[in-house]
């Protein structure tokens, strides 16, 4: 591999081989550098569409080019091509852990493999944190594996994804990546500290163990949606019976439990976590990954094509995944996270198996009222995007789109109540949000029906004209 080879700052020197990832404002290509014959990945960011301003992007690429660690993906170079910024990076042929899982390990990876990849990831976090950086987006989609089993953490900042090839990447640009977010991040706008990475690291561990992050799997049926909001606890992974048979070591569960402490100060530092028995006992190397993880894996390009089909076939999924969660409770026995839903806490606190002390209840209320800030913030971001998405399907989307945003704006106007009244407001808000969610889904269904009818009509017309 040409490690020290020069990478030219000219698009003509790269030959695009194929597409391996896409997002709202970025594409990722596999390409060949003509001057040194190496294979690279090129992230092409549309600067005019990207949510980030140039200064943010500058700081991100600068940070990236000044980092030097075997477990961190470093860019070779970046340069502008018209309105787009090309970031040239090493090509990690096995792709992200997320795509490896969704292609070959739907119900999660074996624990030995998890230990190896998490250990490598943790080394990267140690380095980053030591440098005073916070990654902010640790998750399986950002952990890449090379042909030789080398593990690298990628994707700094939130401007655009690398290799993140299921539709998470599309969501991410809209609203961040909620499933991995630490409670203190969800509940404040400036809560990112190094300990937030540790939380996301814990969620990532669960993601690797079960095949997906907690609560990512929410089926679109209304009845279930209703059930979820009415219940305090809902074991996200219950629906996958295969997981019941899975056994994880006590060391693993303990390690994850430490990461998922609600109080960030009680979570271990990356350095300390690396000394945990779970990692101390992991001596297997990258070769082990090659033999156990990478065998029989479709290429990144093939996986991208497959996932693209999935995205297009399942547009409603996009909406479902935007359900909000106000917090998490780590369930040690079941080795999973139990989500806490905004507003739901007070409804069924009593039949909760955990001891819900008064102070905890209060804390939850604070959670909820704090969350509602975030929710609105998110709704604000989500809705314009839906409008964009809908435009693709129909040309007359203006008025229905407006009707979506109206309830949200009303919510915006509702002032946040104090300690006591906050809870009530949240419930009301929650209901409103549900209405918005439901309407959005219904609208989407109507649109699709409409489109199908139109297509059918066109088809029939064609038949009519064709017949003599």
């Amino acid at each position: 591999m040409a490690i020290n080879g020069e990478y030219p700052l000219d698009p003509k020197c790269y030959e695009i081989v194929g597409e391996i990832g896409s997002g709202v404002s970025a594409m990722v290509y596999k390409a060949k550098c003509i001057t040194n014959s190496s294979i690279v990945a090129i992230k092409s960011i549309d600067l005019d569409q990207s949510r980030s301003d140039l200064d943010t992007i500058r700081l991100e690429t600068k940070t990236m080019s000044l980092l030097s660690h075997p477990n961190i993906l470093r860019a070779h170079c970046s340069f502008s091509v018209g309105r787009r910024l090309w970031v040239v990076m090493p090509f990690m042929s096995a792709g992200s852990l997320q795509s490896i899982i969704s292609s070959n390990f739907a119900s999660g990876l074996p624990e030995t493999c998890i230990a190896i990849v998490l250990k490598e990831t943790l080394k990267a976090l140690c380095y980053l944190h030591d440098q005073g950086h916070v990654h902010r987006d640790v998750k399986a989609g950002n952990i890449l594996v090379g042909y030789d089993g080398v593990v690298k953490l990628a994707d700094f900042g939130v401007s655009a994804p690398v290799y993140d090839i299921n539709f998470d990447s599309r969501l991410k640009e809209i609203a961040g990546t909620p499933y991995w977010m630490a409670p203190e991040v969800i509940h404040s706008h400036n809560g990112y500290g190094v300990k937030a990475d540790i939380w996301s690291f814990g969620i990532t561990a669960l993601e690797l163990a079960h095949g997906r992050p907690p609560l990512s799997h929410l089926p679109p049926s209304k009845s279930l949606l209703f059930k979820i909001t009415k219940r305090f606890r809902f074991s996200d992974y219950d629906s996958h019976s295969s997981n019941h048979n899975k056994k994880f070591s006590k060391a693993f569960k303990d390690m994850v439990g430490l990461c998922l402490h609600q109080d960030p100060t009680k979570r271990p530092t990356a350095d300390k976590l690396l000394k945990h028995v779970f990692f101390k006992n992991s001596h297997k190397t990258c070769d082990f990954l090659v033999k156990n993880l990478l065998v029989g894996l479709p290429t990144v390009e093939e996986r991208f094509k497959a996932s693209n089909k999935m995205v297009r076939g399942d547009e409603t999924g996009l909406f479902e995944r935007q359900r909000r969660v106000s917090g998490w409770n780590f369930n040690f026995e079941g080795f999973q996270m139990d989500p806490v839903y905004p507003g739901a806490a007070r409804l069924s606190n009593n039949n909760d198996t955990n001891k819900a002390s008064c102070s905890k209840d209060k804390e939850e209320m604070m959670f909820n009222s704090a969350l509602s800030k975030r929710v609105r913030f998110r709704a604000d971001l989500v809705i314009p995007c839906k409008r964009l998405d809908l435009d693709v399907f129909s040309s007359s989307s203006a008025s229905p789109a407006l009707s979506i945003s109206t309830p949200t704006e009303e919510q915006e106007a509702t002032p946040l109540g104090g300690d006591g009244s906050g809870g009530v407001e949240t419930t009301k808000e929650e209901q409103l949000m549900e209405v918005v969610d439901r309407l959005t889904r219904e609208l989407e269904q109507e649109r699709r029906k409409n489109k199908e009818l139109l297509a059918e009509m066109e088809f029939l017309k064609g038949v009519l004209h064709a017949s003599p």
Binding site: D48, K62, S65
Partner: protein, 339 residues
Amino acid sequence: MKGLFKSKPRTPAEIVRLTRDLLVQFDMGSVRESKREEKMVELSKYIRELKCVLYGNSEAEPVAESCTQLTQEFFKENTLRLLINCLPKLNLEARKDATQIVANLQRQQVQSRLIASDYLERNIDLMDILMTGYENTDMALHYGSMLRECIRHQVVAKYVLESEHLKKFFEFIQLPNFDIAADAAATFKELLTRHKSTVAEFLTKNYDWFFAEYNSKLLESTNYITRRQAVKLLGDMLLDRSNSATMTKYVCSRDNLRILMNLLRESSKTIQIEAFHVFKLFAANQNKPADIANILVANKSKLLRLLGELKTDKEDQQFDADKAQVMQEIASLEPKELA
């Protein structure tokens, strides 16, 4: 073994002196080849220690008294010059540490004086070295960061603004390497916005050549990023109250208007919006020269249509209000007799 002879922790001033001694040796090239690696490790270690004093670490917050001691000792002699000179010889981690140290020192006060500023005033030629960074891919981001920190001081910014260096920025901003070009653009922006009175004076004195270069090299660049940054910065400069004299002059030029109208027609929404913030000044000017007014009149319907369609992604009441005002102004314009 080490533990047995562990001496009491070194004072910040001692660490500065040890660092300086090693820097002197490296600077003069008097380090024997066999000792080189060992001494470099030692130097990197001291530099890391200095950083820890200034920034603290995971266990401790920085102590004001220690920071003061360090700063005083640092600027008592030529440590900064040595550090800048030796930077290319350091490894990546030590370079980053050094850059952070230099950044921090610019903000440290000793007896409520920024002694870094006094030092730089006496050693202003250091800026010449830092400026060369942009021509060296390896050093650009380190020297660039240091430079940007140094121009926090008004005397330093004034020096760079009035030096020949400023002209080089027009080239650096367009370098193909995005990291370096963007860093140069950030410094350029800092130079032209941070110290209001210095900037106002500079723009007044250098109006002709500066805006000729600015228009042709930046606003009419073929590089999207350059145009986008330049039109944004132009808006920032002209809308600043302290630059009102420059603004008044700028909006009376036909050539400037032509360039802005072209930017307003770009396919990039971001550039269009930024261009509008400058264009509105031409339209809002109550003492429009006849030729400016006539251009606007001649393009009245096209402009009104274009502005009518121009919308921000997020709701922006100020933008909408400005736009309405500009459109009204243009709609009401009548041709003027050329003076």
